[in-house]
Symmetry: C2
């Protein structure tokens, strides 16, 4: 597993886990149908509690990234993640708004912000189409 957790971070452990799995999917390191470690195995691997892993998994399922099957295991969603709808775009705007307000206050130009975003997109440039 490529997942690393920072115990000193102010970000909750379960949130870090979620972000790294989403990033893994976006990067193409985790492909549709691929199985994820059990809550116990991943907890032991990362040195954290199984309930913390479970919390991340349950939220990821509810957001459409993974599929949990009661006595079988956990899998990257075989159908792929559903494409962004209006509801998601509104949520994204709500999350971007304070970041952009802050950047504007700090005299960052629209182009500078856009270039920084494009740079981050490059990390996920390989595989992954969505369909």
């Amino acid at each position: 597993m490529f997942i690393e957790i920072d115990l000193e971070s102010k970000d909750p452990l379960y949130a870090q886990l979620k972000n790294q799995i989403v990033a893994g999917i976006a990067r193409g390191d985790l492909t549709p149908g691929e199985s994820l470690p059990s809550v116990r195995a991943l907890g032991a691997d990362l040195g954290i509690n199984l309930h913390t892993v479970n919390k991340a998994y349950r939220q990821l399922e509810q957001e459409g990234f993974i599929l949990i099957q009661r006595q079988k295991g956990v899998f990257i969603h075989p159908e792929g993640v559903a494409p962004a709808d209006e509801e998601y775009k509104n949520l994204l705007k709500k999350q971007l708004h304070p970041l952009i307000a802050d950047s504007v206050c700090r005299s960052m130009s629209e182009e500078e912000f856009v270039n920084l975003s494009r740079e981050l997109f490059r990390e996920f440039a390989n595989r992954e189409g969505g369909e």
Copy 2:
């Protein structure tokens, strides 16, 4: 005051307050040197505790947006907010990273994300140059 707080939001009250003040500065509604209400006045106005307002003010001061003077009051930073340095840009990247990973998983194109960002920038398009 143009500030509105949502008591039902999952975002902490002090964070909502911070965001709205930063947005006010970015929009140009709050200009350098302008005075903000006292912690008691704003607390009473919004129906929240003065300590919640104080927490927002203290963090805004530490981040360079405002200036607090012990027996005088609170003011939008007269010198303007310091322009983004490398440290800030790294923080911004760290905050954008999970949003972009999520968007990629949802098959959102770089252009679509960029257009959405540009749209948000337009809200702050009027005044505001930096210093």
